[in-house]
Amino acid sequence: MADYLVKIEDNIISVDLINTNKIKINDKEIQFDLKFKDEECYLTYKNKSFEATVLSQSESFVVVSINNDIYEVEVKDRIVQLSEKFTKNKDVKAKQVIVRAPMPGLVLKILVNVGQKVEKGSSLLILEAMKMENEIKTNNAGIVKEILVKEKTAVEKGDILIVIE
């Protein structure tokens, strides 16, 4: 088992820490130099340099901004990897997708009903923000399990709008 299992978008990478200038990525040793200034990071490796900012962090998640893109990174240490191994077989619950408000605004219209089947890209509701009507779409196909907002109500950024299963 690797020290860390890192998930970035669709990539899963194993990482082993060797010392402050050496790391193993997918079992390949890499030399690097990394300096931090609070949340700012300056990395050089393979003769390339990168500049990144850690935007937020929790027990096993880091949000990193690099090259003007934002990446949500899941970092599983040994404990998490082990516990996942044990619970894997019991985890038969269907995967839920939570649709959150991308910005504060007013729910103008809800376009789906509970129990309705939705496809990837289906419009779920119309959120008015910044004087624009924005269609909130889903990235996942599934069944609408729960609708947690009502039309004409205000929502904050990050509020759960709809749960798809």
Binding site: Y4, N11, I23, C41, A52, Y71, N134
Partner: protein, 499 residues
């Protein structure tokens, strides 16, 4: 004729900064106004005086006409510059300013009324024998009228708000069955955005280019144009990349369209700077679309190719002087391009994104200009337009300008909020854009967010290294704290083991 010595800028962000800069160049004193949440913005710092005008909601601050005029009187300014957006195209405000004995740096109220109302503008310019897109010359009162129009001219048709632009209250209708809901939602959006739910209908031109002309008119009936801006690269009906000249422009066509633009403006007894927008089809037929009776967001590209400071000319005209240039004195040199950097999520339909700018490293170098109204540490809020910055590059040729813009975008580093920087880079690299073969449907035809985000192995590896080391360091310092506190043996051992 009155010399302007002090100006209040009734706006915020980058355009307020832009106007203040020219005022400083001219030795004119400046007054900024700001809403409570904007107190820490650059436009407040840069002005000679700054006044808080109320809460964040535009209606309580930047749209509060009386309050702005009261401050202008108190600060004893000679003139008010409205920037763009907010009160810039509000004829009532222009009149109130005038009545208060203050110069409005912009057109007279009558001209704003004539040109600001899109329906009356269409009537006016078609009377001056300038071609317009077929459309209703009165607001559509009911669904039947809309249905009738669609049957007469054929689909697609375009619903547009009579009261304002910016893509608000605008809907493309591809077939009759979509008309009912499209009309209803356009009306409600227009009502919210402009307090005016009147909608009119136009035949929707397929694959047009959006090309506009910058014009200047003085108080003596003189008008000139400063050439065109190609603004076809749009998303959500809002421009993101503009350039001058347009790749399709010839000196003959420029002359023809420029004359039409000046004629259109003079037909409304226009004064000061303005923009005439045209749609241009594949055969280079052009149709008047609308007039913007104000300084335009993308005016810097014109400044770069003409070397004319448009804000300076606005002030000159407002002082009652004749135009500083005749048409034959206007020369175009090289190529300029502008990218608007927005706080938005290019992976999710360009939805606005908000938050604090944690890091901002701008671009510099030869022939790069930046107009920006926020700094590192400032917030992009839900209350105002989410534009962060305008980057402008100039080159002797289009190719050189494009390369310089690429270089600037690569230097630019912004963290904390999602931006469209990488989407701009993608557009600039796109074969069709580089070849100049595009129209207003460029984004919907070619855009695919999935290919923009950098997923090269080296980036992914870099992120993996940074994330693990960062978290590991955090845990290490946490362990350290716990050890020093001498907690139970079991806990520290466990942490030690997994370190």
């Amino acid at each position: 004729m009155k010399k302007i010595k002090k100006i209040l800028i009734a706006n915020r962000g980058e355009i307020a900064v832009r106007v203040i800069r020219t005022c400083k160049d001219l030795g004119i004193r400046t007054v900024s106004v700001y809403s409570e949440i904007d107190q820490n913005l650059p436009h407040v710092r840069l002005a000679d005086e700054a006044y808080c005008i109320g809460r964040a909601t535009p209606a309580e601050s930047y749209l509060n006409k009386q309050k702005i005029i009261d401050i202008a009187l108190k600060a004893q300014v000679d003139a008010i510059h409205p920037g763009y957006g907010f009160l810039s195209e509000n004829s009532e405000f222009s009149k109130m300013v005038q009545d208060a004995g203050i110069i409005f740096i912009g057109p007279p109220p009558e001209a704003i009324e004539k040109m600001g109302d899109k329906i009356s503008a269409r009537r006016l310019v078609s009377a001056a024998s300038i071609p317009v897109v077929p459309g209703t010359d009165a607001p559509v009162m009911d669904l039947n009228q809309a249905i009738e129009f669609g049957r007469k001219y054929g689909y697609p048709i375009l619903l547009k708000a009579a009261g304002g632009g910016g893509g608000k209250g605008m809907r493309i209708v591809k077939m009759e069955s979509e008309l009912t809901s499209a009309l209803r939602s356009a009306q409600s959006e227009a009502q919210t955005a402009f307090g005016d739910n009147r909608i009119y209908i136009e035949k929707y031109l397929e694959n047009p280019r959006h090309i506009e002309f910058q014009i200047l008119c003085d108080s003596y009936g003189n008008g000139i144009h400063l050439g065109e801006r190609e603004c076809s690269i749009q998303r959500r009906h809002q421009k993101i990349i503009e350039e001058s000249p347009s790749v399709i422009m010839t000196p003959e066509l420029r002359d023809k369209m420029g004359r039409a633009a000046v004629k259109a403006a003079l037909s409304a007894n226009y004064r000061n700077a303005g923009t005439i927008e045209f749609l241009v089809d594949k055969q280079s037929n052009f149709y008047f679309l609308e007039m913007n009776t104000r300084l335009q967001v993308e005016h810097p590209v014109t400044e770069m190719v003409t070397q004319i400071d448009i804000v300076k000319e606005q002030i000159n005209i407002a002082e009652g002087n004749p135009l500083s240039y005749s048409q034959s004195q206007i020369n175009f040199r090289g190529h300029a391009i502008e990218c608007r950097i927005y706080a938005e999520d290019y992976e999710n339909n360009f939805l606005p994104s908000i938050g604090k700018i944690k890091k901002l490293k701008s671009a510099a170098g030869a022939f790069i200009r930046e107009d920006r109204g926020v700094d590192e540490g400032n917030e992009i809020s839900v209350y105002y337009d989410p534009m962060i910055s305008k980057l402008i590059a100039w080159g002797e040729t289009r190719d050189i300008a494009l390369k310089r813009m690429q270089r600037a975008l690569e230097e630019y580093k912004l963290a904390g909020i999602k931006t469209n920087i990488n989407a701009c880079k993608w557009i600039l690299n796109h074969k069709k854009f580089v070849e100049g073969d595009f129209d207003t449907h460029f984004i919907e035809n070619y855009y695919n967010p999935e290919i923009i985000k950098n997923k090269r192995d080296e980036i992914i590896e870099a992120i993996a290294i940074i994330s693990t080391i960062y978290l590991n360091n955090q845990k290490a310092s946490y362990d350290h704290t716990i050890k020093n506190k001498d907690v139970s043996k079991w806990k520290s051992k466990k942490l030690e083991y997994f370190r």
